[in-house]
């Protein structure tokens, strides 16, 4: 599916795509976070047959219903609110680093000040892993903290 992006000066950005069934759909992402979903008219392809206005909260609920995840946008907002907050996704290597060892062994919190807040293993998310959590190769580890602390923590994790 190809998505076309058009800037709407003063409003935000419009994305449009043609669904496989043939419907032409547009999504307007406004600067204040509201979203509009529009269905284009087949007779007059420049006009909409109808639009649905969603608040930011509505939009993330709908996104979940549609099977998407909105972790990334939430994290984006977080980095906006807390200045200097860094978030990094580290992928555990085949060997070395903390692969095969526990979170407690790495002493990441004590040594760097950064926190491991979640691990994604295959499709499952593991929020707040305990010190006895054992990392496996291929785990995606979410680290948060000050920028340089996150950097050091990532080095401990991946070796």
């Amino acid at each position: 599916m190809e998505i076309f992006e058009t800037p709407l000066p003063g409003v935000g950005t419009r994305y449009e795509f043609t669904a496989e069934a043939g419907d032409h759909v547009g999504v307007v992402v406004r600067r204040d976070g509201r979203r509009d979903i529009a269905l284009y008219d087949r007779e007059d392809p420049d006009a909409c047959r109808g639009t649905i206005e969603l608040t930011e909260g509505d939009a993330s609920k709908v996104a979940e219903l549609l099977g998407g995840t909105n972790i990334t946008t939430r994290l984006d907002e977080l980095t906006h609110t807390v200045e200097g907050l860094a978030i990094e996704w580290a992928t555990m290597p085949e060997s070395g680093g903390l692969t095969g060892r526990t979170l407690g062994e790495g002493r990441i919190r004590t040594q760097t000040g950064a926190s491991v807040v979640a691990v994604i293993r295959k499709e499952a998310g593991i929020p707040g892993p305990m010190p006895d959590f054992v990392f496996k190769a291929g785990d995606t580890v979410l680290v948060m903290g000050a920028a340089d602390a996150v950097h050091r923590a990532t080095r401990v994790l991946t070796g």
């Binding site: 709407l8 000066p9 003063g10 409003v11 419009r14 600067r31 392809p45 420049d46 006009a47 909409c48």
Partner: protein
């Protein structure tokens, strides 16, 4: 020590009744605006023309005299202009301006030529000075981004494919205002051609500087006033806006221009947050501005300029429609979309009044105010009706017959 309470009483007693009178008048004015705003929303037209009408029936020559509060209204109107233009400047980010310039400068030039010339010509025909005619050119040129943006949202047309064409044209008008306003401000001071050329060059230099600041250093300007507290942010932005506007006025560049340029230089997070904070304040003081503009016009002066205003409205509605159709066709919008684009650009509103206000403040041409008021009254109402019924108004462009709505 003993004289202090005496002085206080002396200060408070006689003006006390005056303050009361000012508050009462102000209260009545705001209540009238509130009622008119409701009425406008109910019948689906923008509130600007009704505010103007309210002003016309107040004050000299009208039914409701306004005397005690006039000083406050004058200051309030000035604040309204500053806020209107600050937010106009804020409306578009540097990236928006770049996109607008890149994609639609040609349409912008056509828009300016097609819609400014009728106003300029009408000024000359009426025997006005070049400066007054140039102001009238500005009045007829600039579409109301306030009315258009609001109605696009109300009529659910934001996602329409012709909407970027409309918004880019509004951006181009915004950029044109950045050059036009300082030049007019200089001409209004009554400089000779040579002086005018020099000061206009300086004005353009200042605008260029503001753009450079906007593109390169806006983060630093924004940091100056940024705060996580809404209260502090509001105080910072308003303080900066009034200071810059006042300084601009002091060097005779007009407060409006100063506020506008400041709006352009603020961007990023500050711009986004101010966007959520300032509009209610702008609407209140903007309303006062329109009322005050109406008050400053004697309704009896409207009649003699009714015919020119009507002629100008018809001609420039036509030229705007033509501009829109042309601009939409260039980017491959279908005939119906072209027609909608043209009709959408017709409303004139707040900025036409701001431009005419510059001339009134300079005491330039007594007929400019009434003519602009009449013109905006017509096109704000007719323009928004054209926008609303765009799909039902048979388009001369569509080859297929437009079906009459069965509902």
């Amino acid at each position: 020590m003993g004289t202090m309470p005496h002085a206080l009483i002396h200060m408070a007693a006689p003006p006390g009744s005056e303050t009361g009178a000012v508050l009462i008048e102000l209260g009545i004015v705001l209540l009238v605006l509130a009622l008119l705003g409701r009425f406008a929303a109910k019948i689906g037209i923008p509130s600007v023309p009704l505010y103007l009408l309210a002003g016309l029936v107040m004050g000299e020559g009208g039914f409701i005299p306004v005397s005690a509060g006039e000083d406050f209204l004058a200051v309030g109107a000035q604040i309204g202009v500053v806020l209107l233009l600050l937010l106009l400047g804020l409306e578009y980010s540097p990236a928006d301006l770049q996109v607008g310039l890149k994609t639609s400068w040609k349409a912008g030039v056509v828009d300016a030529i097609a819609n400014a010339i009728p106003g300029f010509a009408m000024g000359l025909i009426l025997g006005w000075s070049i400066t007054a005619s140039l102001l009238l050119a500005g009045v007829t040129y600039i579409s109301s981004s306030g009315i258009i943006a609001r109605l696009l949202e109300d009529f659910d047309r934001l996602a329409n494919r012709e909407t970027p064409v409309i918004l880019s044209l509004l951006v181009m008008e915004d950029i044109a205002m950045a050059l036009y306003l300082p030049i007019m401000a200089v001409l209004l001071v009554g400089a000779s051609i040579l002086q005018g050329a020099i000061t206009a060059a300086i004005a353009i230099g200042v605008v260029a500087l503001a753009f450079i600041i906007s593109f390169r250093f806006s983060r630093h300007v924004s940091r100056l006033v940024h705060s996580h507290s809404r209260e502090l942010l509001l105080l910072g932005v308003l303080g900066l806006a009034f200071l810059v506007a006042g300084l601009a006025e002091a060097v005779q560049v007009s407060a409006a221009v100063g506020a506008f340029l400041l709006g352009l230089t603020l961007s990023g997070q500050v711009a986004d947050e101010v966007h959520g904070l300032l509009p209610p304040l702008r609407d209140v003081f903007g309303g006062i501005f329109f009322v005050f503009f109406g008050i400053s016009i004697d309704p009896r002066d409207l009649l003699p300029v009714a015919i020119p205003a009507l002629i100008l409205a018809v001609i420039t509605a036509g030229t705007k429609i033509a501009t829109g159709v042309w601009a939409a066709r260039r980017v491959g919008i279908g005939p119906k979309g072209q027609w909608r684009t043209g009709l959408t650009l017709v409303p004139r509103g707040e900025f036409s009044i701001v431009i005419a206000g510059l001339g009134i403040a300079a005491g330039l041409q007594p007929k400019l105010g009434p003519l602009a008021a009449g013109y905006v009254l017509i096109l704000a109402v007719v323009g928004s009706l054209l926008m609303r019924y765009a799909d039902r108004i048979p388009s001369p462009l569509a080859r297929t017959k437009v079906l009459t709505p069965s509902s």
